[in-house]
Amino acid sequence: MISFQPSEEQGQIIDMVRRFAADIVRPNARDCEEDKAIPDDLLAKFWELGLIANSIPEDCGGYGFERSAVTGALISEELAYGDLALALAMLSPTLFAYPILEMGTEEQKKKYLPGFCGETFKFATSALMEARVTFDPTDVKAQARREGAEYVLNGEKCLVPFADRADLFLVFAATAPGTGAPGIEGYIVEKGTEGLQVGEREKYMGLNALPLYRVALAECKVPLENRLGGPGGCDFQRILNLSRISWTAMATGVCNATKDYAANYAKERVQFGEPIASRQAIAFMLADMAIETDAMRFLAWKAAWLADRREDCTREAYLAKLYAGEYAARITDNGVQVLGGHGYIREHPVELWFRNGRGIEIIDGLAIV
């Protein structure tokens, strides 16, 4: 039965996260970007919402509500409406927790998930991306080989959020190069494991609030039971799909924020005797922003809905992110354009959204629903 109406429960979550984004996330976004850091109390306030513990089964210490990719997309969008970097930071524990929740062995769930149900923000992360021009998430160069009772990991990762503070890393590596998604597995690496080297903090065009690090794995050994999903391994393609859904939803949030901000500005900014919004060139730019933003949202929902039905959504998630990458770049560009010179100054958030928006096409991982 076709419907574009979130459930009542989802509606309540949306309202809550929307308020949080408006009251807490947006007002702090610029400072965090300039300071290149997120104060712990912001993360703590997010943690109080209980969004992550919500999805964790009661026997692992959570509230035991069903985890849903659609709900995750709704949350991703609303948080990113506040700020993309803070949204990524706040949801970063899910990078580790959700794959365990979905694909972990019973032992892995019991061992790791309770840590995400505590009172304080749990720093955990995953490492997927690698610093090369032609990086493709289904073609990672990091390798895992089995040696007796251990897996030995080698490789170089980039864009690992909170690598400096994370207790747990989910590292994606291939058993053999060129085997595509089926050959990629996740390995749980605990902080302090020998061979896990957290490198320098990285500097990017945007997302400066989010601490991103290089991480090297040099003959890093983990026990066999640390492979995500145990002997059967994980469904890496699904993890990638869930990540692309989250990115698309977050892109929707950024675009929606840009559209709203630019529209309000255009109504207030008077030039040649009239608000610039009364000129077709500006008004139609805003109309296009609205159209593409809505389309992006529904593409995320559609892929998420398939994911929740446990149907293959590789195509839908890929196309959604393809769409989001292109249009998020265009929309955030136009956000600056509507504000003109003022949009180029760091006082207005469109300047930040322009820079953040350019990461969407490029980055995979870093978020999951």
Binding site: M1, I2, S3, F4, Q5, P6, S7, E8, Q10, G11, V70, V133, T134, F135, D136, P137, T138, D139, A181, Q237, L240, K259, A263, A266, K267, A277, S278, Q280, A283, F284, L286, A287, D288, A290, I291, E292, D294, A295, M296, F298, L299, W301, K302, W305, T314, R315, E316, Y318, L319, A320, L322, Y323, E326
Partner: protein
């Protein structure tokens, strides 16, 4: 709850329409493109089927569009006539959009009657093929400036004026004519009237030679002292101080625009599917999930177009779902048509180019689809009109604030 599954009834609509599109429309699509202004007898059988459909629909209790909007959580989703029509139109248009427009009883006038007619009128005009006559030589997008008049004379309206671009104007039985009952009242004076084609004074003066959708005729009709019964007016004859009457007339568009969008979608999907098929025969692959570094140029182009097709469909479905659920959807209807009209043209043109000399040739249908699809960015409000509607709604601006 967010859901994208077609309910069984809609799957049936879809399968039926697809079957007709594949088995009946496609095989004769080229023929009626070449033989413009010839009536396609092969699709006459569709008339009774359409009539039965709408009679079945009439029997169902109607939801009042003006009932107060319920709070979100209480709304019960319903799949109604609009969703059913957009799903069907996509499939029919996949077969041939010109033939879809030429299905007897499937005119835009029928949609207008269905939207605003009284039960008595619905009954009286049931089974008639109704065209819609809005545009005049001097008024295109500016529907408010029409000059065709309707004057009440005793128990009859007397209609005078000239209408152009009347889709199915030749083939139809009746015409829904927009006319003003009080020129001084501006838009408030505009009403719509059902005029039977066989009334004295109704003359089809011209059939247009068009770039595409040539299976459906587009006529100019002159109305000269045409007398129709008083109760052939759709809606209230009263001229209100504000523009409510006109808004009522315009409201038809909220339902027809997603349908036009779905026609663009169906044509573009036909083109893209065909193009992929032909390219696959040449050994090209289309893989989902790879970084663009690893894609071929045309592989990537096709994937981008697929994402656009999905986006078109979802925007159309949203507008239709809102309409069926009694929500105000003027903005969303225009969003769906703006997107679909533009991207439909874009996708079909790219498919022509992707197939090289064969794409440009009239041996295949791709070039025809590019011609057919363009109309969807023009009629029922051009791209620019849709953008105006979207922007005004978005900004909360009146017509005066955003011209």
């Amino acid at each position: 709850m967010i859901d994208f599954e077609l309910p069984p009834a809609l799957k049936m609509v879809k399968d039926f329409a697809h079957g007709v599109a594949r088995d009946t429309f496609r095989p004769i699509a080229r023929k009626y493109d070449e033989e413009e202004h010839t009536t396609a007898e092969e699709i006459a059988f569709m008339g009774p089927i359409m009539a039965q459909r709408s009679s079945e629909r009439r029997k169902k209790p109607k939801k009042d569009a003006d009932e107060p909007k319920k709070p979100r959580a209480e709304t019960e989703d319903r799949i109604g006539a609009i969703m059913s029509t957009v799903v069907g139109s996509e499939e029919f248009s996949w077969g041939d959009a010109g033939l879809l427009l030429a299905i007897p009883g499937n005119g835009l006038g029928n949609a207008a009657i269905a939207a605003v007619a009284t039960p008595e009128q619905e009954e009286r005009f049931a089974g008639k093929f109704a065209a819609m006559a809005i545009t005049e030589p001097g008024s295109g997008s500016d529907s408010g400036s029409i000059s065709t008049t309707a004057v009440l004379d005793g128990d009859e309206w007397v209609i005078n004026g000239e209408k152009i671009f009347v889709t199915d104007g030749k083939q139809c039985d009746i015409v829904v004519v927009w006319a003003t009952v009080d020129k001084s009242a501006g838009k408030a004076g505009i009403k719509s009237f059902v005029v039977e084609k066989d009334r004295p004074g109704v003359t089809v003066t011209k059939l247009e030679h068009k770039m595409g959708i040539r299976a459906s005729d587009t006529a100019s009709i002159v109305f000269e002292d045409v007398r129709i019964p008083k109760d052939n007016i759709l809606g209230s004859p009263e001229v209100k101080t504000k523009t409510e009457g006109f808004k009522g007339v315009m409201k038809t568009f909220d339902n027809t625009r997603p349908i036009v969008g779905s026609m663009a979608l169906g044509i573009a999907r036909a083109a893209l599917e065909f193009t992929k098929e032909k390219l696959e025969e040449e050994g090209f692959q289309f893989r989902y999930g790879l970084n663009k570094c690893r894609l071929g140029a045309i592989e990537r182009e096709v994937l981008v177009m697929e994402s656009e097709l999905e986006a078109m469909r979802l925007l159309i479905w949203r507008a239709a779902w809102m309409g069926d659920n009694g929500r105000a959807n003027a903005m969303e209807a225009s969003m769906s048509k703006a997107k679909a009209g533009r991207m439909g043209s874009e996708i079909t043109r790219r498919c022509v180019a992707l197939l090289g000399p064969m794409g440009y040739s009239r041996e295949w249908l791709v070039e025809k689809w590019a011609r057919d699809c363009k109309i969807n960015d023009i009629y029922e409000g051009t791209q620019q009109i849709q953008q105006l509607v979207v922007a005004r709604n978005l900004l909360g601006y009146s017509r005066a604030q955003l011209k």
